[in-house]
């Protein structure tokens, strides 16, 4: 998406926080094309997502992102530089956040404009709502 002229995503879905962070349930969503080692790889263009279970060790994640225009050495050295799962576990243990969701989610952000992801994202938002996730923490790559 570098350098593309993009229109705003739409009317701003502004929701104000109703409770302190220490009571909120958080899920991580990455667009780094991460997945569990045995899961399907991402295709060249791919708007689907993969589930990353809460208990999974970050070290068990692979990256099948299409783009070659970003550094992967940082990810090889420390999964948290892309997907900060250990940092959020620390926040949970310290009580800074309420809890982590049962699952986190991964998309592969390359080759498609944001509209293409809507068909995957809307049902996923419903799943997260049903799990009473308060905050989706979004990380790119």
């Amino acid at each position: 998406m570098l350098g593309k002229n993009l229109a705003p995503l739409g009317p701003l879905p502004w929701v104000r926080s109703k409770k302190p962070l220490s009571q909120q349930k958080i899920a991580l969503i990455t667009t780094a094309g991460l997945h569990v080692r045995d899961d399907d790889k991402f295709a060249f263009t791919d708007a689907s997502y993969r589930v990353i279970p809460r208990e999974l060790r970050g070290d068990d994640l692979l990256m099948s992102h299409t783009s070659v225009n970003f550094d992967r050495i940082g990810f090889a050295e420390d999964v948290n530089v892309v997907f900060p799962i250990d940092r959020f576990r620390e926040l949970q243990e310290s009580g800074a956040i309420g809890s982590l969701a049962n699952n986190h989610y991964s998309f592969m952000g390359a080759g498609l404009l944001p509209d293409a992801y809507e068909a995957s994202v809307r049902p996923l938002a419903e799943i997260m709502r049903n799990e009473e996730v308060d905050v989706a923490f979004l990380t790119p790559v």
């Binding site: 998406m1 570098l2 350098g3 593309k4 002229n5 993009l6 229109a7 705003p8 995503l9 701003l12 879905p13 502004w14 929701v15 104000r16 926080s17 962070l21 969503i29 080692r37 790889k41 295709a43 060249f44 070290d59 068990d60 692979l62 990256m63 099948s64 299409t66 783009s67 070659v68 225009n69 970003f70 550094d71 992967r72 050495i73 940082g74 990810f75 090889a76 050295e77 420390d78 999964v79 948290n80 530089v81 892309v82 900060p84 940092r87 959020f88 620390e90 926040l91 956040i97 944001p114 308060d134 905050v135 989706a136 923490f137 979004l138 990380t139 790119p140 790559v141």
Partner: protein, 218 residues
């Protein structure tokens, strides 16, 4: 609610998601510095703090950058292209290079207790054969594009993990410079890029072989 990180400020300005923390780090490193727990926590804390804003959309800048002075000179564990007769076929060149790097790849995997190799269904020697054969034959079947892409990704991961086997911090640009310009793999991928560029049925792969920064040097 959502909050998150952006590595490309222009995109966040255009798309206007509700809450975005822009970070000045290289693409591929949204949390900044590998293995720096405190730095990563500061990034997360700044992004979570945006949840307290009364109005949006919010786009704020993270006030710190990574410390580039932490990178020392890269000591490459292998001397590339030193002993290889130029008459070798590409699969053999790559196979021998992989054999030289294997102890360092293993060392790196032991130190990190993980590897990012594994997206290709082939083992590393077969990946080398697949790529080497495509270069040697100056072409390959369109049906093999996906297999070739995954083989290339695993080869690059294998090489970069071997080159960074010793404890860091590592200068990613220096590592990739070695990979692209000092290794037979780098030379093979430049060749492959050229082959794909000249074949309409394979042109798709030119987008996914060489980074833009390397293509500029062609």
């Amino acid at each position: 609610m959502t909050t998150g990180i952006s590595l490309v400020r222009e995109n966040a300005e255009a798309l206007q998601p509700p809450r975005t923390l822009w970070v000045p780090f290289p693409l591929g490193r949204p949390l900044g510095t590998p293995n720096d727990v405190e730095f990563q926590q500061r990034v997360i804390s700044a992004a979570l703090d945006l949840l307290n804003r009364e109005h949006g959309p919010v786009l704020e800048d993270f006030p710190e950058d990574i410390d580039a002075s932490q990178f020392g000179p890269l000591s490459c564990p292998v001397s590339f292209k030193q002993t290889e007769p130029q008459t070798d076929a590409w699969p053999e060149r790559l196979r021998r290079e992989i054999a030289e790097l294997k102890p360092w790849y293993d060392e790196g995997a032991r130190r990190r207790r993980r590897t990012t190799v594994g997206v290709s269904p082939l083992d590393m020697q077969a990946n080398a054969d697949f790529v080497g054969q495509a270069v040697h034959a100056r072409g390959f079947s369109k049906e093999d594009i996906v297999t070739l892409k995954l083989a290339v990704e695993d080869l690059k991961a294998f090489y970069s993990e071997a080159l960074t086997a010793r404890p860091g911090p590592h200068d990613a640009d220096a590592v990739m410079k070695i990979l692209w310009y000092d290794t037979f793999l780098g030379e093979a991928l430049h060749e492959l890029h050229e082959i794909c560029r000249n074949d309409e049925s394979l042109k798709l792969l030119t987008l996914f072989l060489l980074p833009r920064s390397v293509q500029h040097d062609d």
